[in-house]
Structures are given as structure tokens and as C-alpha cells.
Symmetry: C2
Subunit: 404 residues, 2 copies
């Protein structure tokens, strides 16, 4: 059976980053930049006032006091029309360009204006060059790289791209991800289950996980354990960039999913991975003439198994598709709050509560009734990893956790 690292390696070898698309910055949040973005301007583009007040030559008021002749008022968005000679000043607003000759700004609170004489009396602490202003290009020079290819775009990158002349950018983003739940035991959540039935909770759960992964969910409902029905639904799902099947991949007789996928031309990459929960995981690819491949995951039907497989494997595949330079799940190291006895012949991912205090991260594995116990995950904000074998992990030991 495939190990977890081997499964990751096969996923990353199989999934190709999407072709970049052009989009506006309004659509770019949580996309991944496909090409380096460089600045077409200096930031700031001019010597810029950081306060409302008076632009001065610092040599005129070295000790912070003096009376200066007012030349003009410079508003943000306007251009100074007069340069400052010795003894001169111009009133200036935050964000406005300093006049030639000025090298500092005195805050308005420290200035007394004499309207009649058009002078201002300054009374403040010593004024050094550069006070309350930013020099041209001191934050960023024209031609410098603003955001590198492969960067996950948050608000600050988007602001920086807007400021530096990249209103349209090239990103890899938002794959469509179809969700197909399988199983005759499933009824929709709005229906009361009869004997032997359970509600289809995986569809909305995966829908939400896909949204949380910044992708676009395409819910397809429930496919019955009947070949013709399953086939039709699979064909529909294969139109998306990814297809997630929930259930139908364990060893049972009615597990038609792998054979129907094969009939649709899907090539199996692997089936079964050595982890708990999630062993029956299935992964394949449909290569298609003239269009990008579809990547298919068969997820176990138990909700916790499905959730863990999505967070570990599907999310890594989505990150690879989006062009993340490091698409693997990033562990957060945390110290156990109590002894933990691991058991079993597979690496185990246990729902856990991760907390922070006084610079320490701690982890408390949560009691769980197993892979059908979604309620243990409601109390959890992540999963804790324990290696194969029966082992006592002592309180205080740092272990790997993954936030979700």
C-alpha cells in the first residue's frame, strides 16, 4: 500500500499547474500570481508630505522655531508652483508633493498662521531633514519586483499591485470542483432517513471545504448504485477541473465507482493509502484531447475520512493546480497537553484542538468515535499526526499538526 509521502509525490507529479488567465485585481483575491510583477513608478513618486502642516527647508528652522513667509497652499493631487528659497514655506496637505527646496514638514498643530502678513510662526522640536515626509522612491524604485510569481494574493499584495501599475494580472485560480456522493443508503439532508439510510452530509461538507480552499464547487447530488445513473453523473462531473466522488471506493461488492471511472477513460494513479482514517482513497486522471485534464479523487464515504483526505490530498492537488511553489500541507509544531497513547498499524490523523499562549503552541487530541464521528471535528481546529505503532507520546512532546 502506498505511503502518505508517496501519495503526495504521485499527486504532485500528476497534477499540472493551470494555464494562467488574466484577471482584474477585483477578482484576484486568493489567486496565485503567475508572473513577477514589476513597478512602473517610484513609491512615493515624489517627495511626499506625511502630515498636514508646512513644508520647510530644515536649515531655516534647525531648532524648531522661526517665522516663515507663506508661498502657496499645496493640496494632495496638485503640483507645487513655487520652489522654496531661504525663509519661505508653503502650506501642505498629507499626501501632497513637497515643493523644490523643502526637505521637511512641520505639523499644523505646531504652526500659528498670521493671515494679514502671510507668515507662519513655527514652534516645535528641532527639525531634521526628512521629518514628516517620505523621499521619492524610498519605499520602492521603478522597475523593482513588487510581487513574485507563485505568491498567494492577499489584500496587501493586491494593494501593492494596484499602486505599482498592475491592474490586470496573470493568475492561476479557481478550478471548478464537482462533488458526487454515491450510495443507495444516502438521502438528501432535507429528508428524514428511514431504516438503513443516512443523510448525505458529505456533499455540503465538501462544498464548504472547496469554498474554504478558494475553489468553485459544483454539487451534483447523489448517484445511485446503478451503473447507468452513476455513469451519467460521472460524465457530468468530468466536465469540471476536478471531480470528487464521495463513497464507493472501499472493498464492497457495490463499489462500482472504480470500474465506471475506467469505462469513462479515467486512468487510475493509485488506490489505497496507508493512513487512518482515509485508507480507501482513490486518485486518477482523465487526459482529454484539446483541453486540460480532469483530476479525480474517490474519497471514502465516512465523513471524517472524507474530510481528512480532502484537507491532506485534495487541497495539495488544488495548490499544485494553482501554482503554489510549495503545495504540500504545512505542519504546525505543537506540544502535547497530555500523554497520548497511539495505536494501530497506520499513521493516524486525530482531530485535535490547537491553542496558543505565551509564545507556545499546544495540542490536545480529541476523543473521537472514529471516522463516522463528525462531531469530534466540530470541536477541533486541526489534526494531529501520530506515527504507526503502539507508542506513548509524553505530555510536552512537540508533534506535527495541521490546521483546518
Amino acid at each position: 500500500m502506498l505511503s502518505v509521502p508517496e501519495a503526495f509525490a504521485q499527486i504532485l507529479r500528476t497534477v499540472q499547474p493551470a494555464t494562467p488567465r488574466s484577471c482584474s485585481l477585483f477578482e484576484a483575491t486568493h489567486g496565485v500570481l503567475a508572473e513577477d510583477a514589476v513597478s512602473d513608478v517610484n513609491i512615493p513618486p515624489f517627495d511626499k508630505a506625511l502630515m498636514d502642516g508646512f513644508a520647510v527647508r530644515s536649515s531655516d528652522v534647525p531648532d524648531g522655531t522661526g517665522t516663515l513667509q507663506i508661498q502657496e497652499v499645496i493640496y494632495a493631487g496638485s503640483v507645487p508652483t513655487r520652489s522654496l528659497e531661504a525663509g519661505q514655506t508653503s502650506q501642505i496637505m498629507t499626501g501632497a508633493p513637497l515643493p523644490e527646496g523643502a526637505d521637511a514638514v512641520v505639523q499644523i498643530e505646531h504652526c500659528q498662521i498670521n493671515e494679514a502678513e502671510q507668515t507662519v510662526q513655527i514652534k516645535t522640536t528641532p527639525v531634521a531633514p526628512g521629518k514628516n515626509m517620505l523621499y521619492r522612491a524610498s519605499v520602492l524604485e521603478q522597475g523593482a519586483t513588487v510581487v513574485k510569481a507563485g505568491t498567494f494574493l492577499r489584500a496587501q499584495e493586491i494593494g501593492a499591485l494596484a499602486e505599482t501599475g498592475s491592474p490586470q494580472i496573470s493568475v492561476r485560480r479557481t478550478p471548478s470542483v464537482a462533488i458526487l456522493a454515491t450510495g443507495d443508503e444516502l438521502v438528501p439532508p432535507e429528508q428524514k432517513p428511514e431504516a438503513g439510510q443516512i443523510r448525505n452530509s458529505n456533499e455540503v461538507m465538501l462544498h464548504s471545504q472547496i469554498l474554504q480552499a478558494d475553489a468553485r464547487p459544483v454539487p451534483l447530488g447523489i448517484a445511485r448504485d446503478v451503473r447507468s445513473h452513476l455513469r451519467e453523473k460521472i460524465q457530468e462531473g468530468l466536465k469540471s477541473d476536478f471531480l470528487l466522488l464521495s463513497g464507493g471506493v472501499s472493498a464492497g461488492e457495490l463499489d462500482l465507482v472504480p470500474s465506471e471511472l475506467a469505462a469513462a477513460g479515467v486512468k487510475q494513479v493509485f488506490h489505497k493509502v496507508n493512513l487512518k482514517p482515509g485508507k480507501p482513497l482513490w486518485f486518477g486522471i482523465l487526459e482529454q484531447e484539446g483541453r486540460a485534464p480532469c483530476y479525480i479523487f474517490g474519497l471514502p464515504g465516512n465523513p471524517v475520512s472524507s474530510m481528512v483526505c480532502f484537507e491532506l490530498f485534495v487541497r495539495s492537488a488544488l495548490r499544485q493546480y494553482l501554482g503554489f511553489p510549495d503545495p504540500m500541507p504545512q505542519p504546525v509544531s505543537a506540544r502535547l497537553t497530555a500523554d497520548f497513547q497511539s495505536r494501530g498499524d497506520r499513521p493516524t490523523y486525530q482531530p485535535a484542538r490547537i491553542d496558543w499562549s505565551e509564545g507556545e503552541a499546544t495540542v490536545t487530541p480529541l476523543q473521537s468515535m472514529g471516522s463516522a464521528d463528525l462531531h469530534a471535528t466540530v470541536a477541533a481546529n486541526g489534526i494531529a499526526l501520530f506515527a504507526t505503532g503502539n507508542q506513548l507520546y509524553q505530555s510536552g512532546l512537540p508533534i506535527d499538526t495541521f490546521l483546518w
Copy 2:
């Protein structure tokens, strides 16, 4: 001037949680549940097989070996038709209900079927009651609370709600948040700025921050520093649940924003808060006959100030609106990686890099050219808080940080 805790207190006193709305689970991701949800079923609803194999009476195979008579095959979604007497078994699929009399499942891998005699030979480790099965109601009992009011809904809560009969729920969610950038110095990002001008980066940045806060941005473009134009745009913005104005709230002569807001009937709650960056922050409310109030923030025009004020104050207001029981920003304690000299007469929020390793959280404050330096925030994943005053914070000291 208002302290940061006083500003938070005034915001939380002013903003009323939204009226709950009914929505389907497909729309519920990152909403906040308004009422406790209780389960209408037992989980699992029946004694349930966790493996494909044979349902047995554990007393028939206490040492893990024996030959049993096959009664039927029970698929997931079907109902057993025969109960098990001593020496009998039924083949069973994962997720299917156990027949009466059975109290364990033996995995198919440990079973050899004799088709002719309709028997199965079992060879496994000792079988205790409960093996490879879940007892009815052992995960959750009918009538138990599944998700409490005030819970932020992630994938696992949504799955649990689906499973327990809450396909439609009552949530507080997705306020609309209008964004209006002000200032004659601003040009749209697609335009090359001329002398004295800068690009409007705050609109797309706030747009992205609003999306990241799970709210619905309504970008209104740039309002010129002309009363009639500003007035019209403000009227448009007041139709949303929140209105964010970027710029126009510092002490400059052309700062028409507060007076135009007053003319529109907006009541100022506070103006200016003692923090750096972000001092000019303005907050008010428009109470309206027959509809919910609009909450208005005047954010400083400098991008880092705007970003920090949004993350601290606007996000807390949004969380209060959404019904979070604890809407304040949650600090993460982290240890300084190097000495840090704080300066100034205001509490300072410094862009910072927070890292985790070996169970420790560490924080590295980043070099910044100040509140116009958006590029320092590109390297940051949070902000570090330093108190008022000139103080040397020693390497290793735990301080409060906020992730963004």
C-alpha cells in the same frame, strides 16, 4: 484622544448583530449560527458496520476462528431481513445496519466463503463485542445539541448540521460593505499617475480585505474633493450595511468627509484613536426609519493605516454584526526573534512575520518606511503590538501579535 480599548468598546456598543436570516447549508460557509441546532436523529441511527465483511455474534467466534452459515447480504441503504441465531452470519457492507443478534463485524480479508455450502470460514484475531461497528446513538443522541448559537460555520459544522436534520438554518451573515476612496490626488490603478497623483490602491485592497472577512464588497470608485460629488457617492454608500471611506479624515482643509457625513444624518461616534498607524480613524452610525442602521468608518488614506484600521476595528465590527460571541481581534502570543526598540507616544502596530517551529511561535517585526509602505506588509503575515513609550523589548520576550 480615545484609547484602543475604548474605541473597541464604543464599536461593540454601537454595532447591533444583524437580524438572522434563513439560508441553506450551501450558502452557510463562514456564517454564524443564530440558534442552537439539535439533532433529529441518533448518530448512527442503527448499529452500523465500519468495514466490509461479515456481521457476527462475537460469542460465536471469541477466539477469532469458526465456520458460520450465511443468511443474506446486507448492503448500505438496505435493511436486514433476518436476525442471527448462534452459528449464523450475514455478509455486510461498510455503512450497512447490523442484523439483530450481531454485535461485531469481521473484515472481508479474514473470511473465506464457501459458495456451495453457503458458509464462511473466519480466521482472525479474537473478536470482542463492538469490533468494526458503531452502536446506535454512540456518536450523538437524538435531541442533543449539534452546533451552538454563535458558532462560526466551517465545513465540519456544515456536515454535522446536514447529518442531523438542519438543511436550512438561521445565520447572521454577509453584510454588504461599500468602499469609497476620496481624494483629488487619486487616479484609478489602470491610469499612469501624473505629477502629484497616486493610484487608488486602497479600493482593491479593502475589497480584498472585505472578501477575506467573508463580507460582500461594493466598490464605489473615487469621490472627488467636491461637495456635490462626495455627497452623491456617500448617499450611494449609505445603502449598504457598512460604508468604508478611505481618506478624507485627517486634519487637512479639504477633508470634507466628516461634514458631508453629518449633512447626510450620520452621527459621529468617535474621531481619532491613540494608535500608530491609524490615528485619524473616524466612526459613526446612520440610524434609519424602518431599516437597519448603516455603520460608517472613515479610514486614513495611507494604505498601511487603512489596512491596520480595517483588521483591528472594521473586522471587529463585522464580527459583532455577524453575531460572534467574542468579536475582538484574538491575539497570538509569540516570542521576539531579536531585540526591538519601540519609540513614540502611541501604541504601535508593526508589520511582522510570525513563524512556528518546535511548538514555539516567534515574531520578527519588519522594517517599514511607515504608513505609506505597503511593501513591508507584503512580507508580513501579521502585526506585532508594542506599547506606548521608548522601550527595549528583549529577544525571547512573548508579545501579542495579530495574524492577517
